[in-house]
Amino acid sequence: MTTTTKAADAKKLPGADYFTLGEPVADTKAPGGPIEQKWAKRKFEAKLVNPANRRKLTVIIVGTGLAGGAAAASLGEAGYNVLNFCYQDSPRRAHSIAAQGGINAAKNYRNDNDSTFRLFYDTVKGGDYRARETNVYRLAEVSANIIDQCVAQGVPFAREYGGLLDNRSFGGVQVQRTFYARGQTGQQLLIGAYQALERQVAAGTVKMYARHEMLELIVADGKARGIVTRDMVTGEIETYFADAVVLATGGYGNVFFLSTNAMGCNVTANWRAHRKGAYFANPCYTQIHPTCIPVHGETQSKLTLMSESLRNDGRIWVPKKAEDCGKDPREIAEEDRDYYLERIYPSFGNLVPRDIASRQAKNRCDEGRGVGPAVKEYDDNGNEKMVRRGVYLDFSDAISRLGKDGVAARYGNLFDMYAQITGENPYETPMRIYPAVHYTMGGLWVDYDLSSNIPGLYVTGEANFSDHGANRLGASALMQGLADGYFVLPNTINDYLADALKFPAVDASHPAAVEALESVKGRIDKLLSINGSRTVDSFHKELGHIMWEYCGMERTEEGLKLAIAKIDELQAEFWKDVKVTGVNEDFNQTLERAGRVADFFELGRLMCVDALHRRESCGGHFRAESQTEDGEALRHDDEFLYAAAWEFTGTGEKPVLHKEDLVYEAIELKQRSYK
């Protein structure tokens, strides 16, 4: 392809002024043949490393959640030397711990016609046909092993009186394949992985570095060979070397400031790798969850998710008249209430999918009919406005039908949680909910082996992009984390490590290591030297507002262009006026946050560019310019059936778009419909 044609092609895509088009990228590791034989074939073809040689090889794993903890434990068991890093005080705190609902597995224990193929089919369809078919099939294939593994570790899944495992059904699925541990499945699975990890720490195969944050990737002679970290207690900047590096660092939803993520979740490890050449795929795919407890004020730090199951019995409404919004909801007459989901989607009603329920709630609040406390926002010109961000989720009908005890039996723990956070009694007055940022489907680009385009750099779990497409079904994130960590990576990374004994030694004197170390120190010095007037959090909140407003649930070409300009302006101000207190050589939480927010600016901009170029509505990405006559999301498979893998070309330079065509051989593409 000549440069002129590329430029001409890029012109056709919306937002072409913001990027250039590069060569296509392809997954080259998935073998040919029928989809159900690919994984077995790949495992057989992959090279092995004999046990005596494994002792000579070192793998760095960043992150200790389901993907990282499971991988570290498995590679430790295999006999490799593993260096495992996390920013928390203990690997047990990784944010996988907060997942509630459950984990899918095609066990067919219910004899309800479930199968590997059906789990595969549901996941690809749920992802709105923007996931990679081969990866998703393998995910479904190993899912059953995950349950066996976890039970063997002592994970206390819910059981029936007969002693066998219980299952339930989750959104968008017609079989019962979700295994769960009350409302804390994530915690129990993570503790299982953590225990396996600590067993390896005791065995000496894994060395754990808690309170260490990865701040740079070392790419020596074209291969990922190490990382630069900051010891968060002493401030020491250190280099660590290995034969391969695995990033298992989770998602980047905190770019929005308010999200359901843990406060420390960040994009820095992935972003530093991206700047060193790793492609970042589909950054704009963010899952918005419709049933969160709403924002109560400007000082709020965090959004808490409530189970989506509430929509089975709760009715969602807002007042018909804006002047009723401040009233006690119990005093608003039935005829003055707008049950808008039931009105617009009579067949699905309150059970419409997550993206639709979320967008409609936002529309009602934008119209001025939101409820709950008004929170300060800014319009496009920077003027302050007060907006109520909440809709009612009303159980009064359910309480008259089932009785208070009946409702409590189904949702009691959620009602208690709501009461504790809001101070309101949801049995007496309707709950208030609002959508929130939950999970990011984008991440570093990987091939079938979970290898990024930098040799020796592997990416697992939420940190990669491959398995969830533009949307994510419930109970599938835990599945992917553990599948990658226990079963996929330990089988694919050998193929690379088999050659690693021949790699030249790399140590702190290598120019790439010196450069990485110096760049980290320079960046920290710069942050500490600005000594401006604005706090890190004030920048982060403002960035979050921009991202939520223009790159959140609904996006327009005009809005995204405005957002990019606003981000550029805010970023410039950040580097001139941020105030970072203290010194590096200390436990300094302000400095930690400053470095992360600096990377969120760059990521946020790329998210907007990605959203801008993809002029189709797809999963959690609704483009106002691409909708059906009745306002539904409209996908354009003819133009956008690809994963967008972005290459970093330099600060202030246009990123390069590499397209990976998504090929569906086992599944026919269909438009999702909710009518």
């Binding site: 498995s74 002592g154 899944f157 541990a181 005791a202 004020g297 730090s301 965090k302 105030k579």
Partner: protein
């Protein structure tokens, strides 16, 4: 609301700490306790003072990273109507004009890192001593190979909900980590997968518990009273029963 805070400030493990008084204005009752500290920290930063260091992460009451002593009780349980972590304690539990004391977990096994942040890695080392089932990846039997009666599974689960926050240690006059250790012992002892290592596990975990400097349990019960996950106090009885049984087993001798 306007709040007077008296906060423990300590530069590092080696230095002396002291209580410092701060005024926090415009506190909303909807704020969590940590959001109130955020508000104070923003104010301190603008003034050029160093913000107060405290540990936190998920702010959903599940990761176990947050935890300070508030008015003398771990996680502010004394001010909360229900069991809670610090991140789920809300300012409506306090009255306008209140003076609130905030201190780190105080226990020799949890040295202070800075201000309200302590080092709880001793808990990880107790788990390393045997708080797991020895099973390698990829070799597990089918999950239905062993039935586990629901009642035992539920008891295992009740113990498994421990989030490792360390409130039990902070609340115990002996700074014992027994509730934490007992929770793991009970969790694994209720399941068939935990049986082969059951007696060896308790010996190894308790030896590490003691070596880390945690005190012995004298059945005071403060640990369970402050536990944000309401780990049953009788897990300690389970631990004691298993310990006695283990003395008659050769495992680990």
């Amino acid at each position: 609301m306007n709040i007077t805070l008296r906060v423990w400030r300590q530069a590092n493990a080696a230095s002396e700490g002291r209580m410092v008084t701060y005024q926090v204005q415009d506190v909303s009752e909807d704020m969590s306790f940590l959001e109130m500290l955020d508000l104070l920290n923003e104010d301190l930063t603008v003034k050029g003072e160093e913000p107060i260091a405290f540990d936190h992460d998920c702010r959903e009451g599940i990761c176990g990273m947050c935890g300070v002593v508030i008015n003398g009780t771990a996680h502010g349980r004394g001010n909360s109507p229900v069991a809670t972590t610090t991140c789920q304690l809300h300012m409506r539990s306090f009255s306008d004009g209140a003076t609130i004391d905030v201190e780190p977990w105080r226990a020799g096994s949890f040295p202070v890192i800075k201000d309200l942040v302590v080092d709880r890695t001793a808990f990880d080392r107790i788990i390393q001593a045997g708080g797991y089932v020895s099973v390698n990846t990829g070799s597990a039997p089918d999950a239905h190979a062993n039935a586990v009666g629901k009642l035992k599974a539920d008891r295992a689960f009740d113990a498994a909900t421990c989030i490792g926050c360390g409130a039990c240690v902070a609340a115990c006059p002996n700074h014992s980590g027994m509730l934490f250790t007992a929770a793991k012992i009970t969790h694994l002892a209720m399941l068939p997968q935990g049986q082969p290592e059951r007696h060896l596990r308790i010996k190894k975990m308790l030896a590490t518990h003691d070596a880390e400097g945690f005190g012995g349990c004298t059945n005071i019960g403060e640990c369970a009273a402050v536990c944000p996950k309401e780990i049953p106090f009788d897990t300690i009885s389970q631990l004691n029963r298993d310990l006695i049984a283990s003395l008659f087993k050769r495992d680990g001798k």
